[in-house]
């Protein structure tokens, strides 16, 4: 099934109206679309407590549909992990959500995550929204068997389930991720990195969540294991109808696992749309350069020139467009005036970019400094 078909499956009207309670009573317009949305993030802003004007995440909005896999892409420090932690209500102590709404429509009702207290949030976490952490191999407790760790997650959230039923479910979960159920009595150190990552996925699925957030779930693995884990995530998603929010810096991994993408830079979403549209025709110079740097379709030996400079720190962002001082196309307007998101194409979600010049004429945003010889590197300040 191609990515396009999978996206089509998530478009309201095309998707089957599963479980729309009281069928005929459901509103004809808007209702279907609402049912289809699992997570709606609007205007999320996260700031440092000791410096409230420093926005780590700045006015981030996106919509995740049921069954959709969305990639949140960007380089270290762009705010992608902070965005995910805000959804889970797990912001580190020094950070605070200063504005924005997070509406989660799991379990048949809409819940405003931003208004929930600690106890209510704990019930949702793992039961409805779970997370596969970065470097999961270190997230498992080394002194407990993997089976008991999965069982613990189940009994915490469903205390009424009996011991026999729990251990049966642990077996099924391990089976599902391709680890022999009899190995549930083994300790984490007795597994390879790829197997530990599979166990982390089983742990994330333990309470049958509707949304799984993966924070660089394959970054520490080598290519072959990475491909296996990505395939596994895809299969589980189709089987269980899960939604996936994949946080990654790796645009190639994202293309393999997701249907839609949001690219973040310096705390903001700078481009969003279907993976097909964004990768084929990027409309923000930053996205275009990131794709160029992958060099996936260059002749061997070709080395793309780097983007000059570094991503600005949250307390030292430039005026106007935050990318302007690194952008080869920047004009005076870019330095003076901050661009809004501009729609550049139809689709679900619509293709949009935060650039004054979007939509670009065909191919105009493609890097012109691409060259086949490694000479002539730009000095970085």
């Amino acid at each position: 099934m191609s990515a396009v078909e999978r996206v089509a499956g998530a478009i309201p009207g095309v998707a089957e109206p599963v479980g729309s309670a009281g069928g005929a009573a459901a509103p004809l317009v808007g209702g279907a679309a609402d049912d289809d949305i699992l997570l709606q993030v609007s205007g999320l802003t996260v700031a440092r407590k000791d410096a409230p004007s420093v926005h780590i995440v700045d006015d981030v909005s996106f919509t995740l549909r049921r069954g959709e896999a969305m990639g949140l892409a960007g380089e270290s420090g762009c705010g992608k992990t902070t965005t995910a932690l805000a959804v889970l209500g797990l912001l580190p102590g020094g950070l605070r959500r200063v504005s924005g709404e997070l509406v989660f429509r799991g379990g048949g009702r809409a819940r405003p995550l931003h208004r929930l207290g600690g106890a209510a949030m704990r019930r949702i976490r793992w039961a409805s929204i779970s997370m596969i952490f970065q470097g999961a191999m270190n997230a498992l407790d080394p002194v407990k068997t993997v089976g008991s760790q999965i069982a613990e997650a189940i009994t915490l959230h469903e205390p009424k389930v009996g011991r026999a039923a729990v251990s049966r479910r642990v077996g099924e979960l391990l089976d599902q991720v391709g680890v022999p159920a009899k190995r549930s009595v083994y300790y984490p150190h007795e597994f390879s990195g790829g197997q530990k990552q599979r166990i982390m996925i089983a742990l994330a699925l333990a309470c049958r969540p509707e949304l799984v957030i993966g924070d660089e779930p394959t970054t520490a693995l080598d290519v072959i294991t990475q491909a296996q884990i990505l395939d596994l995530l895809g299969e589980l998603r189709r089987e269980l109808g899960l939604s996936l929010l994949l946080i990654t810096h790796d645009l190639a991994v994202l293309a393999r696992a997701c249907e839609t993408i949001a690219v973040m830079y310096a705390g903001q979403i700078v481009e969003t749309g279907s993976v097909d549209a964004v990768y084929r025709d990027p409309q923000h110079p930053y996205t275009a350069r990131l794709l160029d740097l992958l060099g996936a379709h260059d002749a061997p030996g070709a080395l793309p020139k780097p983007i000059r400079g570094n991503q600005p720190r949250p307390n030292a962002r430039p005026s106007g467009c935050r990318f302007h001082d690194r952008c080869t196309f920047a004009t005076d307007r870019c330095a003076a005036e901050a661009p809004d998101m501009r729609n550049v194409g139809a689709g679900v979600p619509p293709h949009a970019a935060r650039c004054h010049f979007a939509p670009w004429p065909d191919g105009a945003v493609d890097p012109q400094d691409r060259q086949a010889s490694p000479e002539g590197q730009e000095e970085t300040p």
Binding site: E75, V223, Y279, G295, A296, G301, P374, Q377
Partner: protein, 267 residues
């Protein structure tokens, strides 16, 4: 005989076995990390050793540098076996760059002190002004400008890419003829990765540096190497010019490895 034909480092029939925990009926158990590997890294060549975790690629890199003694076979530097004086010369002329610049730098000393330490160990330049000048020039060549600013910084004050460039500068200060880079950019972001690779490519162009990349990242091999060697379970399963191997892999494992690499849709 051109420069390209001169072997820089050569391994013949090298094997490495590690003793591992536990016993079999016949005594100790061993893990064969390398099994009869022969290769020649020619001067001026950029070679990529590619394979998944556990394929033996890092072990091979360390054997070539004389950091691990092979259980079988021999390694030659130029034409000489790796003994005493040859190993000392090798340890200056062929430098090693590790994956994680966070771990290869001492958090408690400044960039300048760490660059100087290498020069002291190898007794390069006169102590004082001359050594400092060599160190500053190396920082500048690695793209850390102005070098005086970076000289007094501590590792935690630098970004990941800057740290890796400090590591490269520390290596380059010793005037090596070759660098062995073990996953040099896999801990770095995409745009930073390109900066570091461009620094390496510039150094190669300016100084005729020979490079050996040890990596599981096929796209790195594609961007940087002339020749590729694919390792699988301690054996070489395929080798050849990078363009040929990537376009027309012969061994099943190479095919699987290339198929596993996620790609972006062509534009």
């Amino acid at each position: 005989m051109t420069a390209m034909d001169t072997p820089l480092l050569e391994a013949s029939d090298v094997s490495v076995r590690y003793r591992i925990r536990g016993r079999s009926r016949r005594g100790s158990r061993y893990l064969t990390a390398l099994d009869g590997v022969s290769l020649s890294w020619r001067a001026g060549e950029t070679l990529a050793l590619v394979g998944e975790s556990g394929s033996g690629k890092s072990t091979l890199g360390r054997v070539l540098l004389g950091l691990i003694a092979p259980t079988g076979g021999t390694v030659r530097y130029g034409t000489q076996p790796l003994t005493g004086a040859v190993r000392r010369r090798l340890s200056r002329e062929v430098q090693l760059i590790f994956q994680d610049p966070y771990q290869s730098l001492n958090p408690r000393s400044t960039v300048g002190a760490q660059v100087l330490a290498g020069l002291q160990i190898h007794r390069i330049g006169a102590p004082g002004v001359e050594r400092t000048a060599i160190g500053l020039a190396a920082l500048s060549a690695a793209g850390l400008n102005p070098p005086e600013v970076f000289w007094h910084r501590y590792p935690h004050q630098l970004s990941g890419g800057e740290r890796q460039r400090v590591v490269i500068a520390g290596a380059m200060a010793l005037g090596p003829t070759a660098l062995v880079c073990d996953e040099p950019v896999s801990a770095l972001d995409v745009s930073v990765r390109a900066q570091v690779l461009n620094v390496l490519a510039d150094l190669r162009a300016e100084r005729g540096l020979s490079l050996l990349f040890i990596t599981h990242d096929v796209s790195l091999a594609r961007q940087m190497s002339n020749r590729i060697i694919v390792l699988y379970r301690g054996r070489i399963v395929e080798e050849g010019p990078t363009a040929t191997v990537l376009a027309d892999p012969q061994h099943d494992y190479t095919k699987r490895l290339l198929a596993a690499v996620p790609t972006v849709p062509a534009r």
